[in-house]
Symmetry: C2
Amino acid sequence: MTVVPADDGPSEAQGKDARVARTRADVSRAALQVLIEEGCEALTHAHVAEIAGYSKTTLYTHWPARLDLIMLALDALGEMPHQERSGDLRADVIGELRVFRQAVVDLRLDHILSVMAQWASVEEMARVRDRINSDGQRPLRGMLSEVLDGARLEASVSMLTGVVACPTLMFGTLPDDAVIEAAVDLVLTAVQSPS
Amino acid sequence: MTVVPADDGPSEAQGKDARVARTRADVSRAALQVLIEEGCEALTHAHVAEIAGYSKTTLYTHWPARLDLIMLALDALGEMPHQERSGDLRADVIGELRVFRQAVVDLRLDHILSVMAQWASVEEMARVRDRINSDGQRPLRGMLSEVLDGARLEASVSMLTGVVACPTLMFGTLPDDAVIEAAVDLVLTAVQSPS
């Protein structure tokens, strides 16, 4: 058995780890800012380095590929905002969709969704995308699972996500409150009627 | 009034026009092939030139920007496939969504939708995207407008588009027949129940 001594003492190694972590956090935030404000095409090493205040060389050393920059941006995304539950199913589902609609504006979820879809042939991106999207849909799925299951649950989760996501991604528009309420009522009316 | 003589005789000019049109059609098809098979990142002048069998210089001369290549690819997309109407609303809506699902596979509509969303801050792309997506949704909208209007019509068009588009764009999966049928039944059951 060979014991490999560390190059640095523990405190020096910890100092280096902390520096790398700080650089990573700075570059992540800068990459997300570029993705949100300028879109995927602007997410280059040179531009992110400039925004983050690091050299291009630093960025290329740690994150050589364009995909690395996109993954960093997604790291900085954090938790999706969600609505607190009141216990009134209709109000809670409507509230959750309104929060989703606001997040499309604040976080440019149209850019985020489309960049993840575009790179999803890379396995690592497919995993991150599935996690982000599953987390995003979880509260909606939880609410709907109180009254629906099986194919009707799957259908309703996609349908209510689609009320916000489809106009956003297909036409760059957002549904107004009346459309969100109509969508929720279409689903909940069907649930309450004898099938 | 000044009469400006043409530089070329009519037949020579026509020959040139025909050549340009043929080049454009060839490059369009090649660009769409790259977009469908390899995705947006692969859509470079060098790669499209190679696939189309033209020089890079020819491509740069006529279509200098990357956006030009994307627009050319969308030109070659043609009409979206649609289901012929049988007159049975439930069967027709289900059939239309199944055709949409198949088109996602055949035409990689996930790539197409995401690249259009990503470039939509360019006005020309926003127009083309709106036209392609409106054309795509038209038959579904036409069917649903027989039983719905106003906010409920807008909601149901987005919801039923979302049943196919959301799993595709968010998870790279397709809904099975049971989910498509459940979605259509949720909407049509609600329509038939007294509101």
